[in-house]
Amino acid sequence: MSTLRTHDLIINVPGRPDGFSLNLNIEPGQIWGVLGPNGAGKTTLMHTLAGLLPARSGQIVLNDILLKEQKRRHIARQLGLVFQERQDSFPATVMETALIGRHPWLSPWESEQGEDQARAAQALTALDVNHLSDRLLNTLSGGERQRVAIATLMTQNPDIWLLDEPTNHLDLHHQVKVMNLLADQAGTGKTVFLCLHDLNLAARWCSHVLLLYTSGDACWGPAETMLEPSALEQLYDQKLITVEVDGASLFVPVRSAPKP
């Protein structure tokens, strides 16, 4: 069980003169959805929370210790990240890719044992890509690669899961499957923090929502209070129609262009 807190955190979005201080308190069992238009700083926020980018000011605290004072290897056992973009310079199989998730858990001289293989296979099965385990990554479709990346995080098995647009490239069935998987993980005490562009997935699965505006403003709170149609319309500069379906709000864009 791990918690992630930020104190007066201002992320370093290039070209933005100032930003809103984030004081987030991300607890086990919660699923946070980050919503915002392109360029609002969602990916920057993800990378900053993972300690991969320096913040402009403020602090990030992982389990009551400042993130920047912890060793990368120690951080990687508690916090993992699925990147939006990945580079594959050298060919690698799906199984090899999932197994690199075990890296932070193995000492330099150790190699992946049966238990690590089993974890990787289990994760690949959970994401319906186990049948591809011997295939080269660059021969897969975008959605299959996305699922392999999520399976790699699952193999890493940190307490805190950061996911940058995990439903990108996924078909409808696998979007639902991934969101259900994340909900299951949160149910076992994991902390899930993801960027999304789909309001309806957020409304259905997220317990908390963080809205990031292009101006640098931000607001956050429990999903049911944050997913106000007026706030979302302002966020995306897009008129929305809201209906209640199956106990959750459903947001549909209005077809006409917004007024200038």
């Binding site: 310079s89 050298f90 001289w109």
Partner: protein, 319 residues
């Protein structure tokens, strides 16, 4: 995987035996064995222990150093076309060696000067690539290529200004020649120690091959690791260049051929590169000594003649 390393080990041994047996005088295997047991004729003992063994071991060590350095550079720059010389290191070494030759210095000073030149080239490229911000692989690569072109111009200038009687020695050095090696031990020891040092880091390199951000997210301290690889690969290359001049293509083709057969797990690729690179250069040097015996060809010509078509084939195959 262990089996493939064993196979390569056996292959290296065969290559070494072949290199010992063949030459201006062919020594049959029974006689070879007698010398190993400490018997045999005095001529054979001198030929094998004083002449062929040091040369063969020097060739093996040089090939191994170049192949490991190439494998490391390819991961560091995340560019499959990188080789030990891509960052202009051999150019620096060559300028150092040629300067020493021009000044009429002895072999030891030529080696020392070559090593100093290689190290200077390393520091120069790294300093320039760093600039005001942090360096990226593409920036490092571009800086290296441009600096290498600069070294090339300096080498041509020096050759143009050199009295003609000094030219053959210089040209042989530039083409790579194992007969320059006086003692194989420095290169061999550097090879063994560095492979021993790099093996515990090999899994980190596998993760680094996925990009620095992914590597950092999986617990790798990227910047120190990149520094270590850069310094180590430079040291390996400098040692190889100092031992046998600049020998092309071993560092480029050996890691690639191995990746095609064994996959891209650095825990296998790095020791396999040491063995296969050594084997290749031992065989190439044996050819260089025997093709037009008693005349000798510079081994760099043989590796390049083998390397160019192999590399073009690989490039063609990989779409």
């Amino acid at each position: 995987m262990i089996r493939s390393l064993l196979c390569l080990g056996v292959l290296s041994l065969v290559a070494v035996v072949l290199a010992m047996a063949l030459g201006s005088v062919t020594i049959p295997l029974p006689d070879l064995w007698q010398v190993v047991l400490g018997e045999g004729s005095a001529l054979h003992r001198t030929l094998l222990i004083d002449l062929r063994l040091p040369r063969t071991l020097a060739a093996f060590a040089t090939g191994g150093l170049l192949a490991v350095a190439g494998a490391l550079m390819q991961v560091l720059l995340r560019n499959p076309l990188a080789d030990p010389y891509v960052l202009g290191l051999s150019g620096g070494a060559a300028v150092g060696a040629l300067l020493a030759m021009l000044a009429g210095m002895g072999t030891l000073l030529i080696s020392g000067s070559a090593f100093a030149g290689a190290m200077l080239a390393t520091v120069l490229v790294f300093g320039l690539a760093h600039g005001t911000g942090s360096w990226t692989p593409s920036r490092l690569l571009l800086t290296g290529v441009v600096v290498a072109a600069g070294w090339g111009a300096v080498i041509t200038l020096m050759l143009a200004l050199t009295p003609s009687y000094k030219l053959p020695g210089m040209l042989y050095w530039l083409m790579g020649d194992v007969s320059y090696a006086r003692s194989p031990w420095p290169a061999l020891i550097v090879l063994i120690i560095s492979v021993g040092l790099i093996l515990p880091l090999a899994r980190n390199l596998n993760v680094l091959a996925r990009g620095p951000m992914q590597a950092a997210a999986l617990g790798v301290s990227v910047r120190p690791l990149e520094w270590t690889i850069y310094v180590l690969a430079s040291l390996l290359t400098a040692t190889a260049v100092t031992t046998a001049g600049s020998i092309g293509f071993v560092g480029l083709i050996v890691p690639h051929m191995l990746r095609l057969v064994l996959g891209n797990d650095q825990r296998i690729i790095l020791p396999a590169s040491a063995l296969a690179g050594g084997t290749l250069l031992v065989l190439a040097d044996t050819l260089a000594r025997t093709v037009i015996a008693p005349e000798q060809l510079p081994v760099g010509v043989i590796t390049a003649l083998l390397g160019v078509p192999t590399f073009l084939y690989l490039l063609h195959r990989s779409r």
